[in-house]
Subunit: 198 residues, 2 copies
């Protein structure tokens, strides 16, 4: 029985790496402007080899958006987001959202650029709206318990908070785990206590 030959040279990309590179290409050139041919070329694969891994370009988008949204939604189900005073739960959700953005920077960047041009995109926008609604309910509960100021509407407050959080994808570049934790501290500090000295 012969020993299988060791594969030499550049190894092929696995399923996961193909998804990650596709997400990168979608971000650089725009999803609509990216053809399967150009994607295959970037991966050094034939189109049929690419189709062997993923049924379509849209399937890659769907998986990427699902991973980004799924990670954000998971934060809402963590004990820190479901047990305790609403103010503490809100803080947990904000910190968790920053963590997801840093961990899944490219996937969330893609999610935030989605404009609703297809069923897959509209489904992702719908999940984003449902996520925002759940955070708004949390802000309202924190206002009712007195831990969050009630002179700003819960819906506007949620949008401003996530405006700040989501902007991270525009400028944050990973530099190490400390970077991410410090970033979350900074976001929490501005969001909860503001920039002004007291």
């Amino acid at each position: 029985m012969s020993v299988p030959a060791v594969r030499r040279g550049r190894p092929g990309y696995d399923q996961r790496q193909i998804l990650e590179i596709a997400v990168q290409v979608f971000i650089e050139h725009g999803y609509d402007a990216t053809s399967v041919s150009s994607l295959a070329e970037r991966l050094g694969l034939s189109k049929s080899a690419l189709y062997h891994h993923y049924a379509s370009k849209e399937r890659l988008l769907e998986l990427a958006l699902d991973e980004a949204m799924g990670s954000l939604e998971a934060v809402l189900h963590e004990p820190g987001a479901t047990v305790g005073p609403a103010g503490d739960r809100l803080e947990h959700v904000l910190r968790g959202a920053v963590r997801v953005l840093v961990d899944k920077l490219a996937f969330v960047t893609l999610l935030l650029r989605v404009r609703g041009n297809s069923d897959v995109e509209r489904a992702a926008l719908e999940r984003r709206r449902a996520f925002d609604d759940q955070v708004t309910v949390l802000v309202r509960a924190a206002q009712a318990e007195g831990s969050v100021r009630a002179d700003i509407g819960a819906s506007v407050a949620t949008r401003l908070l996530f405006g700040m959080v989501n902007s991270i994808v525009e400028w944050y570049r990973p530099t190490g785990p400390e970077g991410a934790a410090e970033l979350a501290d900074d976001v929490l500090a501005v969001a909860l206590d503001g920039l002004r000295t007291h």
Copy 2:
């Protein structure tokens, strides 16, 4: 001498309206994906009539980005941004930026979507960077005078502030002048004093 006939029916668009509609089309379909033909069609003009008003699609983009950036830069030169304690000047700049975003919602939306795919886009990004740098200098001055907390880097603080401010283009829809002033109050409240009750 005959009296000129009164023009009946739908009047043609003037120079300004063409620019505004073009900006709207760029936002809806993406600048790169918008052809001069589709733009002319949307305006109910022939391509040559459109070229009579503007030399190119890029010229429309350039004017739109210049108007958005020019309005933001003008805020930095207002007396409220140049005279007095740095903390007050920062507050003036944030309020002014919200005002510009609301007044020029479409133009600023386009500016914030620019990714640097041409010289015109790169020039706009360069002006945005210079604007951010000037705000960062202001934040640093406010930290030095003790009116803004110094435990957050001036650069990160500026980015979080403008993340919040810029997010307005994603969800704000004009409902009247009170809307804009209240929105500025809410942004200032969150940015300077935070959401937490004290």
